[in-house]
């Protein structure tokens, strides 16, 4: 999943730095992720994993870093399995 998220981030994130140089825990907003790009990233992730982000996860924290995104996506996938 980490690889996929990194690929999507490189594609739609519009970051001024190379995605490979970012640690999993690096602050993506500080790295230059704009709010517009973060929505593009959410849409790309929804499409790729065939999920929808519930409103309570649509906040800065959920998308603050690569590992935060992984946690958020994993949480949604897990909830779907349980359902």
């Amino acid at each position: 999943m980490n690889e996929t998220i990194r690929e999507l981030l490189a594609k739609v994130g519009g970051l001024p730095v190379a995605v490979e140089t970012l640690e999993d825990g690096a602050d993506l907003y500080a790295a230059g992720l704009s709010s517009f790009a973060s929505v593009q990233l959410m849409l790309a992730i929804e499409e790729k994993f065939d999920i929808e982000f519930p409103d309570n996860l649509l906040n800065r924290k959920s998308f603050a870093s690569i590992s935060a995104i992984e946690t958020t996506v994993a949480q949604i996938l897990k909830a779907r399995e349980a359902a």
Partner: protein, 397 residues
């Protein structure tokens, strides 16, 4: 007067509302001169200080009164009915103070500054816009230079509202020379720690008294004066909401005064016409309807903010940003419709300056509302968020 009656009278005199009304009386007296000459509303701001209104938001523990955003909005609307420029200076000051209160706690320097602000009634301005960023304050070109215990900053600030009259300025910048444009911090500079050289004149259609000139800012201060939290967090968690809500409260005040003038006009006409309905009466009913809609919109927004304050996740959620954006869009557009209705009701007496029904200043001041953070930019942000945000269809939230 008996002692208990005297005490009760004193208490009534000291309520926030009573203090705000005393400032409003002075603001109203000078409103036309401030507007005509495009000068700072010095008299009104002096009374704000005398009534100790500048520090009301500071927590009581630091010498303030722990006033809520609702209470501050009420003061904004009282002042807005008297002089929009004075009200806007007060609102903008309180927006800066909200950043200090919400994000300065725990930092020794910022807590000390809160005490100083409350005790000396300091007026705080901000420099968030910059030449070359295209109006997006979430980007900076300038970078703060931290050199041991000291920080230095030079900023080509295209707007610093009442900058020449402030006691301190909060300035945004990149967090360092190598930081991305969105990696911003905010720093408090006190008067004496900076110089400002005017580069752009504020000669505008309305809101002339905010004196939002452009300046070249150069500051040097202890590095402890940099806010410990990133500006992105400050902007999302306090600045966005307080700006939209307090501005809207000022705008509500402008519209409410316009409706009041229109109502006086209609009543005077009704008295003269022996009970026959004056032509503007129906339009007044419509304006009153819109004013109530505007009020409900702002009150609901204030409640949403008060509820969200308890939960940082909620504060930085898209649903909350959209709600605040919608408050701003609706208020800034509705006031123009209301004031225009009032103008049609009052006719030539509203169009002329210097009558009890004059509405020119109201209309010109109100036109700033759609531009203070362009509504087009806000619509763009909201429409982006709506690509992923699900609609909230509940009535009571």
């Amino acid at each position: 007067m008996s002692l208990p009656a005297f005490a009760a009278d004193m208490t009534a005199n000291m309520t926030l509302g009573a203090r705000a009304h005393r400032v409003a009386a002075v603001a109203a007296e000078f409103a036309d001169r401030v507007d005509r000459d495009g000068r700072f509303p010095r008299e009104a701001v002096d009374v704000m200080k005398a009534e100790r209104l500048l520090g009301i938001q500071i927590p009581a523990a630091f010498g303030g009164e722990s006033a809520t955003t609702q209470e501050i909005a009420e003061v904004c609307s009282i002042l807005g009915q008297a002089c929009a420029a004075s009200a806007m200076v007060f609102a903008m000051h309180q927006i800066k103070v909200s950043s200090l209160v919400e994000h300065g706690g725990g930092s020794e320097w910022h807590e000390g500054f809160m005490r100083e602000l409350a005790s000396r009634q300091l007026l705080v301005a901000s420099a968030t816009t910059e030449a070359g960023i295209g109006g997006n304050m979430r980007n900076s070109i300038c970078a703060i230079e931290v050199d041991g215990e000291t920080c230095r900053l030079t900023k080509d600030a295209t707007v610093i509202s009442y900058g020449a009259h402030a006691d301190a300025i909060m300035v945004t910048s990149r967090s360092g020379e190598k930081a991305a444009a969105t990696d911003q911090v905010m720093t408090v500079f006190k008067r004496g720690q900076y110089t400002i050289d005017k580069t752009v004149d504020w000669d505008t259609l309305g809101m002339r008294g905010t004196c939002s000139d452009g300046f070249l800012f150069k500051g040097e201060a202890p590095a402890a004066q940099i806010f410990p939290k990133p500006f992105a967090e400050i902007a999302a968690q306090s600045m966005l909401a307080t700006s939209h809500l307090l501005w809207s409260a000022v705008w509500y005040g402008i519209a409410a005064d316009a409706v009041q003038r229109a109502q006086s006009f209609v009543r005077a006409a009704a008295r003269k016409s022996n009970g026959a309905m004056p032509p503007g009466a129906t339009r007044l009913a419509e304006a009153s309807n819109l004013l109530q809609l505007l009020k409900a919109n702002i009150v609901a927004g204030l409640k949403t903010y008060a509820d969200a304050k308890a939960d940082p996740d909620q504060l930085s959620s898209m649903a909350f940003s959209i709600a605040m954006n919608n408050v701003k869009l609706a208020s800034s557009e509705t006031i123009l419709v209301i004031i225009n209705q009032a103008m049609i009701i009052c006719g030539i007496m509203g169009y002329k300056n210097g009558t009890p029904y004059s509405l020119g200043r109201h209309l010109r001041d109100a036109h700033s509302a759609q531009l203070m953070i362009s509504n087009d930019r806000i619509l763009g942000n909201t429409s982006t968020m709506l690509l992923v945000q699900k609609p909230d269809t509940s009535l009571l939230g």
